[in-house]
Symmetry: C2
């Protein structure tokens, strides 16, 4: 079964917002046997929507539109669907009850534009939107299933989960399985040479892809076919071969983020970590606490953004900061040890750098970041010279710090066996 | 001038990564007079790339491809470009020198796949990639300009800034200007009714769009035409009218995030804020410190994730936590005041809740979040019942907490005048 996603919205075309809906839809549709052949973002214009409906219904079994269902004048999806199918808008009682329920809850009066939210194309079924006033629209004919959903992420996701997936379950005979191996410390080109024989020998229903980012390469193996078990066996054979060649450079055999890998190591070892962040400003704590269950190994952390804070909260000597600078090996090592002792954790991580755009000097330009990881028995530190903008420097610093932590945990595991 | 963006990569179609490159390209191309008519993500397949080249060259003046230029077997963009234009790959000396420079720097030997990175289609110009081994590709003929760039964000951005924009500057005669007004505390449908007359009276080259998210609605006014000044005047006239109708519900007259709005208020008032985060785990500190210059009003914060940490770091009475629960009005008020006093800031913000998926009870289900904002003279607190997944609950909590802070700062401004 082929599917495509059409996102309607000038705000995406001009880059005012990033389209995260499509990624979620891809993740959800793939395991249900739908291959996403295309994701297209088009403007809020009649002609663009009509063309997308025409092409989409021809080439795909399922076409999902998001956006353009709101109550305002720039929301033209419903009337354009009517034009395409040559039908009228009709009033849907259940959708109106939902609008009433929501307006009663917030204690506002219903206006005409709110009432119009309950109008749907006469050839469609309304899909209940529990979190908003715009119902989803389901239209099915011989060509394709066309689903039109609001663009607000939590409304779209809830309608997909509650209303759309139950209707499309078991419509596909083929299924698609994926597995991912995460490799650290080896460039994409070297990996590719080492596993060339495996790649050349892959059977036709298998595919291997490389996704490099932040010094880590993800290898994704995809398989397509009829039987889940057979596909899993095929994938397992390939991943086992790759793992035996790449050895310790494989840091995970599932698609996990570095904070998840570190979290599992800490849980297995019954160990804990705390953080003292300066230039990353809470980003590493955010990464760690994004993982459910992180309270088992993360009691808390501090963001010591000012000089005074580094002294008053962590006890870093003010003279040391004055003499060496807040972005220095000495200060960052003090920070990682102080936060570890303060929180009584097994590991302490500290990051201090110049994220930019301001704050750089000739000696320490923007992108200079000192990191330290410490345990009861050792303190490691390293300087990095990053070259991104503020956002990228914060993100890369966070990922590098977690990778440094992973290596220290790994060494402690190796030395204790 | 019409432009379109084609992103090549199965990893986006299956939702393994989110396409952030296209948003950046949209932001950059629009003010340079290029209207993005379409963003399409296609698989790493020859036929899909050929079709995109065919359609793109016909309907747009500029077609930007990202992805598929790496050294591995799934990277087929260059050879497909050759097939489309019926040309061969030729060796480019400057690109090879760049590969050598990078490999010398990291101290690795160059292999054949690395050398092949210097091959480019014979009808193209190589665009220097300072941060990677794959050069960008520039092909220009009577139909269109086709640019092919690596998918790695910081490589793509640097090539655009250094090599592509200088080549396309001044090619467009029309320009496009945007302005955004941020509205808080009024639903989209109410705004739409209040400004209906303005919207109906817009001249043909103006467009108004509504972007609702997290209780805030952004109104975007776009204008297209020849002269920058005239467009700015047109936009200013509309935004002034809208502001006069919506009054105090307008919280910013530029496209700013809530953390930027709060940051500017604090700078203007010479005030400071610190945070005590539990369920948001550093996310709010991350939002605040994402803004350049935030060190002027943010000395630091704590993430008190465990019960013990709330007591040891903030001095919240252990009996109080035991009796009322960590997610309670009493505890969150103590936290916001304790962190404010500890950091000697004008405001303290605290968030304690159950982000999920675990940790919910009948009395306090997942999504229950207590927030408090305090100053020397007042302490406010409020409970919210969110209904998203872990990630959404963290994001919404962070945005709500910053909005609560904004209102307290605003009240202090109003009462001091």
């Amino acid at each position: 079964m082929l599917a495509e996603i059409i996102t309607i919205g000038d705000e995406i075309l001009i880059g005012q917002i990033v389209d995260t809906n499509s990624a979620w839809l891809g993740q959800q549709l793939n395991p249900r046997g739908f291959e996403i052949t295309r994701i297209t973002t088009i403007p809020d214009r009649r002609e663009a929507i009509l063309e997308a409906l025409e092409l989409g219904s021809k080439r795909s079994d399922l076409v999902i539109f998001t956006g353009g269902l709101g109550p305002t004048k720039d929301d033209i999806t419903k009337k354009t669907l009517c034009e395409f199918y040559n039908v009228d808008l009709v009033f849907d009682d259940a959708s109106f009850k939902n609008v009433e329920r929501i307006f009663n809850h917030i204690g506002r009066e219903i206006t005409q534009v709110n009432k119009d939210q309950a109008l749907i194309p006469s050839n469609s079924i309304a899909l209940l939107n529990r979190y908003g006033t715009a119902p989803g629209i389901w239209i099915e004919n011989n060509d394709a299933i066309v689903v039109s959903l609001p663009g607000v992420p939590y409304e779209m996701k809830d309608i997909m989960l509650q209303e759309v997936f139950p209707r499309i379950e078991n419509r596909s005979t083929d299924i698609i399985e994926h597995a991912t191996i995460v490799v650290s410390g080896m460039p994409e080109s070297v990996i590719s040479e080492k596993i060339e024989a495996i790649e050349l020998g892959l059977s036709a229903n298998l595919k291997l892809a490389y996704l490099p980012n932040y010094g880590v390469v993800r290898l994704r193996i995809s398989a397509r076919g009829k039987k889940e078990d057979a596909l899993r066996d095929q994938i397992l054979k390939v991943t086992t071969e790759i793992r035996s060649i790449l050895g310790q450079f494989v840091i995970a055999s599932e698609d996990k983020k570095i904070q998840e890998i570190v979290g599992e190591m800490l849980i297995n070892n019954k160990q804990t970590v705390s953080l003292a962040e300066s230039c990353t400003g809470g980003y590493v704590a955010h990464l760690i606490t994004s993982t459910p269950g992180s309270s088992a190994y993360f009691p808390g952390s501090v963001v010591t953004y000012s000089y005074e804070n580094k002294t008053s909260v962590l006890g870093v000597d003010a003279d040391l900061i004055w003499n060496k600078g807040a972005v220095s090996q000495e200060v960052v090592e003090k920070m990682s040890n102080a936060v570890r002792l303060k929180n009584n954790t097994d590991y302490g991580v500290a990051i201090s750098g110049i994220a930019g755009p301001g704050g750089g000097t000739d000696e320490k330009p923007v992108g200079t970041v000192w990191m330290s990881v410490s345990s009861k028995t050792e303190t490691k530190s390293k300087v990095f010279h990053l070259r991104g903008d503020r956002e990228q420097n914060i993100e890369r610093s966070g990922n590098i710090a977690l990778e440094m932590l992973r290596r220290m945990i790994l060494n402690s595991e190796l030395s204790s066996t």
